[in-house]
Amino acid sequence: MRFPARGNEDEWIGFGVGKFIHKIFAMTKQRVSYTLDSTLETVDNAEQTATRIAAEAGFEEDEVMRISMAVREAAINAVFHGNAYDPGKKVRLDFESTARDLVITISDQGKGIDVSKIPDPLAPENLLKTSGRGIFLIRSFMDEVQIHPSHSGTEIKLIKHVHGPAVDGKEASQ
């Protein structure tokens, strides 16, 4: 997976906030993208940014909390499981707000998650496991979740509909 270098997207303008956000290189009126280091600070910043953007998009407080928690869990997966804290690997975080949806995409540069090997955390034999609940929580909190693993990383797309789940809304994992 290759992330675009700073300034490669002509319609995007660059700006910087906070010492923990390594690069903020793109923003349009309804879309903002970040390229972040594989650190715990990235997890906290991803959560805080999601909280702000979801609130600005008009979601209620409880929904904002669910969205920010889902983003936090996805960021944990990207930093910890995907990139394994490798300083040479980055996490890409994209927010896109439309009239219908808030779409958040988190990408890492790891080996790619094997979705089929994620155990069911609700199965009796897994209830007392100390890990393995992240993807479950993400799916619980968002309207749609799409997971796209590849040999060069995992991209997870989180979708929250502005007016609740769509009639034909469904979860897709690939």
Binding site: L40, V43, M65, I76, L127, K129, T130, R133
Partner: protein, 114 residues
């Protein structure tokens, strides 16, 4: 807000008062260290007061489970006290609410250990 933690003894029960966030990193480590320290002193009746915990992530949930199983494996018991709505809801959807012994009254919770 990072996690703050303190503990006190009431009728042979260690009440661990937690506040803030139990999340990946500092919060989870603080809780783990506290439980381990209590166990090392032979204090195996532990009541985790989560009344001031306003946020918990999957790592924090895992730490609660780890504390629970660690204490149980050493012949002790760990119970939860005063769950906030957020923590309560998380334990519900992860089906852990029925795994933990959850209390909402401190005095009754302390008595329940004996």
């Amino acid at each position: 807000m990072s996690m703050k933690i303190s503990n006190r003894q009431v009728d042979g029960v260690s009440i661990v008062d937690c506040s803030g966030r139990i999340t990946l990193g500092e919060g989870s480590v603080t809780l783990r260290d506290t439980v381990r320290e209590l166990l090392s002193k032979g204090r195996k009746k532990i009541l985790l007061n989560l009344g001031e915990v306003n946020y918990i992530d999957s790592s924090g949930i895992g730490e609660l489970v780890s504390a629970f199983t660690t204490v149980r494996n050493q012949g002790g018991d760990l119970k939860l006290l005063n769950l906030t709505k957020k923590v309560h809801d998380l334990l519900q959807i992860t089906k852990l609410y029925t795994v933990f012994d959850v209390k909402d009254d401190e005095a009754a919770a302390v008595k329940s250990f004996n």
